[in-house]
């Protein structure tokens, strides 16, 4: 292997195309699982705060499971396990529609929902109960007090952990490699096999991940600042 030569990778249109496709798949998995996780987290939040007594324990059990079982094992359980138990029709349909990516989205999304719902819950709980009393005293119904008084403050409080977990979800999208989804890490490994330029291609992959992670962190920091300029100035 000759010396360090980044252009050997970046000037080869085939490699660049593989990288771009990897980035695209990484974002498809990331955005898909993020949306799934956030939707589920909001449903869980509703269950947590609902008068249903068992709602709370169901969500608690869900969160406990997803926090204590490695994400990789959950992906394996979905892709190698549950996939094979599905009815024939589903299996063929999924196999024809990039099953790896779909199961990566499901596995990562279900797992991340546990973290997101805990973030939102702690954010809401940090809102002073007096706020609810005051909103009711001003004539708000429970729903509208939630909508206009509690949620805006609660979500603002939950922003820092939500941003952290969004970044870790982005990083975890690389786990899809194990079930064979062709995302960025997969592309990096493929190019390494083809080009033997290990150092260069890992560097490109690392810089790409770092760039997007920092982008999400910066975007999150901007959002926190917009949500509460005074507090961000103090922090």
């Amino acid at each position: 292997m000759s010396g360090f030569d980044l252009s050997a990778i970046l000037s080869n249109p085939e490699y660049v195309e593989m990288l771009l496709h990897g980035i695209e798949m990484t974002f498809v998995i990331y955005i898909g699982s993020w949306l799934l996780a956030m939707t589920l987290a909001l449903v869980f939040l509703g269950l947590r705060f609902s008068p249903l007594r068992f709602g709370n324990s169901i969500v608690a059990a869900y969160v406990s499971y997803h926090r204590n079982v490695p994400t990789l094992v959950q992906l394996m359980l979905w892709y190698f396990g549950i996939f094979t138990l599905m009815p024939q029709g589903w299996t063929t349909w999924l196999a024809g529609h990039n099953a790896e990516a779909i199961f990566a989205i499901i596995g990562l999304g279900l797992c991340q929902a546990a973290y997101f719902s805990e973030d939102l819950r702690s954010g809401l709980r940090s809102v002073n109960p007096g706020q609810m009393e005051a909103a009711k005293a001003l004539g708000h119904s429970y729903i509208s007090a939630m909508r206009f008084v509690i949620m805006p403050q609660g979500v603002r409080n939950a922003l820092p952990p939500l941003i952290n977990h969004s970044v870790s979800l982005f990083k975890n999208s690389s786990l899809a490699l194990v079930i064979g989804a062709s995302e960025l890490t997969h592309a990096v490994k493929e190019i390494e096999n083809l080009s033997f330029r290990t150092f260069e291609i890992y560097l490109v992959g690392t810089v790409l991940y770092l760039f997007f992670s920092l982008l999400i962190m910066t975007g999150g920091a901007y959002l926190s600042m917009r949500a509460d300029p005074a507090r961000s100035a103090r922090a």
């Binding site: 406990s64 499971y65 926090r67 204590n68 079982v69 490695p70 994400t71 990789l72 094992v73 959950q74 394996m76 359980l77 190698f80 396990g81 549950i82 094979t84 138990l85 970044v167 990083k171 975890n172 999208s173 690389s174 786990l175 490699l177 194990v178 890490t185 990096v188 490994k189 290990t198 150092f199 890992y202 992959g205 690392t206 991940y209 770092l210 992670s213 920092l214 962190m217």
Partner: protein
């Protein structure tokens, strides 16, 4: 389904527990736990050094470590594993077992994450402790050694256990470079059975859940105890006051 699971456990419990140990390398659950324990034990001193460097007033120390922590936090663990897989043999010039590769990666990765915990623990103590220690004639390092770190580390015990839990979960990624851990053993079992992947991976999930849940439980209990102790006797005095004010407000 349940019968399948019991049959698998009956046939393969030894493989899942210690891998092919007498006839091969130590593996299975034992290897997972040893790898996690070693990683945390080695990452701990590294994290203290990183934290002290990040709190240092010299930019020469602060900047490189800050950059390292940011890179580690921004890059997937899988990417770091692939880096070590390629770099560690290059540095040592020898054939390195995947266990060592994984250990190196985890020490750097968890060292960076733990250093944030240590830093937070030190910052949370407040300036007063350091100022008082300096006023009593301690040098900076002496104050750190005898005053700051013992208190900060005590408060951090629950966080360290949490990091231990996430290390156990992270060792599963060694699967990619064939570290003979529990996940690896389970996929071996799966390859031998071929027909019951769901049952095998369900067992895997249950075992990880049992271990990580018990550790999380210990961490939570310790956290409550430490919080009570930190609050000191004043918290006991405060309780009846809160109770009375509640009774008063209810009467109103």
């Amino acid at each position: 389904m349940i019968n399948d699971i019991i049959a698998i456990i009956k046939d393969y419990w030894l493989l899942l527990l210690i891998g092919q140990y007498p006839n091969g390398p130590l593996g299975g659950l034992a290897n997972t736990l040893i790898l996690s324990a070693l990683s945390i034990a080695l990452a701990f001193p590294v994290s203290i050094l990183f934290a002290l460097a990040r709190l240092s007033k010299w930019p020469m120390l602060r900047w490189p470590v800050t950059a390292l922590v940011y890179v580690t936090r921004g890059v997937p663990l899988l990417m770091l594993i692939l880096w070590s897989y390629f770099l560690v043999p290059l540095w040592t010039g020898a054939d390195v077992p995947s266990f060592v590769t994984m250990l190196t990666t985890l020490v750097v990765y968890q060292g960076a994450f733990l250093s944030e915990v240590v830093r937070a623990g030190i910052v949370a103590l407040g300036h007063g402790q350091m100022e008082a220690a300096r006023a009593l004639g301690h040098s900076y390092l002496g104050a750190m050694r005898y005053i700051i770190l013992p208190q900060a580390l005590y408060n951090m015990i629950p966080s360290i256990i949490s990091t231990f839990v996430s290390t156990i979960k992270d060792t599963t990624l060694g699967y990619v470079i064939n570290v003979p851990d529990l996940t690896f053993a389970a996929s071996q079992v799966n390859n031998q059975l071929l027909t019951q992947p769901f049952q095998v991976f369900l067992i895997l999930a249950i075992v990880y859940y049992a271990i990580c849940w018990s550790l999380t439980h210990v961490a939570n209990r310790l956290e409550r105890r430490i919080a009570l102790r930190r609050a000191g006797p004043s918290s006991l005095r405060a309780t009846p006051l809160v109770a009375t004010s509640k009774i008063v407000s209810e009467q109103l």
